[in-house]
Symmetry: C2
Subunit: 321 residues, 2 copies
Amino acid sequence: MTILVTGGAGFVANTLVDSILSRGDSVVCLDNLCRGTSANVARFTAKNSFRFSVVDLADLDAFRSCLDSHADLGPISEVWHLAANSDIPAGIADPSVDLRDTFMTTFNVLRIMEERKIGELLFASSSAIYGDLGDQELTESTGPLFPISNYGAMKLASEAIITAAVEKFLGRALLFRFPNVVGLPATHGVILDFIRRLRSDPDHLDVLGDGSQRKSYLHVSELVEAMLFIQPRAAKKVDAFNIGPTDAGIFVRDIARETVAAVAPGARLKFGTDNKGWVGDVPRFAYSTAKLSALGWTPKLSSLEAVRRAIGEINGQENPP
Amino acid sequence: MTILVTGGAGFVANTLVDSILSRGDSVVCLDNLCRGTSANVARFTAKNSFRFSVVDLADLDAFRSCLDSHADLGPISEVWHLAANSDIPAGIADPSVDLRDTFMTTFNVLRIMEERKIGELLFASSSAIYGDLGDQELTESTGPLFPISNYGAMKLASEAIITAAVEKFLGRALLFRFPNVVGLPATHGVILDFIRRLRSDPDHLDVLGDGSQRKSYLHVSELVEAMLFIQPRAAKKVDAFNIGPTDAGIFVRDIARETVAAVAPGARLKFGTDNKGWVGDVPRFAYSTAKLSALGWTPKLSSLEAVRRAIGEINGQENPP
């Protein structure tokens, strides 16, 4: 089986592609290298069953040509669409970023799938589609869906055109709604940000917001495990799954403290005064993963354990021996 | 007050603009004349408080220049964004239609509103965002939102970027979720289609689908009345309102029978076999308007009464004396 992975040089793809190749399938990885790096796929490039191309998926003609160049690997039977802008503040400052890198990549993935009769789509959606519903428990059928960032908006917009595509031509689509995900290779996110700032100034760490934002964290290894668990077990033609830890998440102040303890134990923490780190930051959410639990999967790591493990891993990434 | 109405030469705008001008405000109407016609705004053009331009709102530079040309009317204080592709099957056949005319027009309206610090957005959303949830009652917080047409998908996508814009810069946004709306000037829809086909062949009427599709209908005069009722009464910075009749809708077979009785009494009806008229057609839905009722507004006409009135009106439009 040949599988297309978009955003293939990015953070989540790195673990996913490893799993897919290990079970014997072939992978075509496409990435615009906006956040991902060629180094992330270096360990796969020697394999005959792996192909990598740098292409802007928002450019439909380039996307088509690129796939044609890998036609000898056989027809593609499923697409993992992970490509997206992952820098939420950047997308708020300039809405064309999420339009192009998140929404138009999905729009074009669907055009390609219709043209080439590819039946199965696995989509990296996000808890950000739920917006800020306060303490309301967020199940897969919670509404209203009023995202508060362009990132969340373009993920919801992507879900919407995917479900319309299922009505018309797609065989099946699974919408995986990610929590905050941590691990290697870190390309963005609060832990990487804290570590980099502590390495340049080991005495101080300024935290955006008052540290009271509470978020669910999952380790990337468990995220990928969950998606591969769901895929053969989901029964509907289109369905959404919240993926996350079973706890209520951890506070940003605790992430800061854990990072300081591991990286620069003497650093003084300085917090802001707002309960949001930035415009579009969801201060807290209660993420229900009951549907995934009912299907038979729960993570082994808590939010705190996932964060601790990631701090160690990312500190190693930033400080190679 | 100067108000911008997009899709200003279209069906719903025709009644809305009349109401706005009647209360003494000025209106800048923009339309690409894809469905709307200049004839629809002819009755307003003699007024000093009315301006009309033909422009493609998906072209941001053209949109800006066009607004600049009407700057002497004073700064715009609110936008009624009604522009959209309204031909659902066309958007299913070619997804770029809804992308351009529904989604990118919303994206650009938001850019304009941010640039020009316009605080209030009234958006023509749709019951199509709910997809096909069978007999489940559709309230404003029902989920999951899995639209089954690109029309519904791009309306939901538009809602999503609007709510993100409220977080960043918009003062307020109201999302009006329309049912099927009928009345004059008819530019599209099942009644116009039936009447045109009966006028070309008064002996037969072929109905798409088996006629069992059941839909809620509202007369355009009541839709506009409802929106203008909600606007000063809605309390939140962002909110959605289902607008529709209080009944469960009427069957397509009854619309066909009513039209035949009024237009070509001898015609024989022929039904299809599918419970959907076309891909993306939602066969039935239970639309809750309890939130709007609680605010204090209910329509006077039932779905059947709205359809009967529209059949008479549209027959007159197609057969001028």
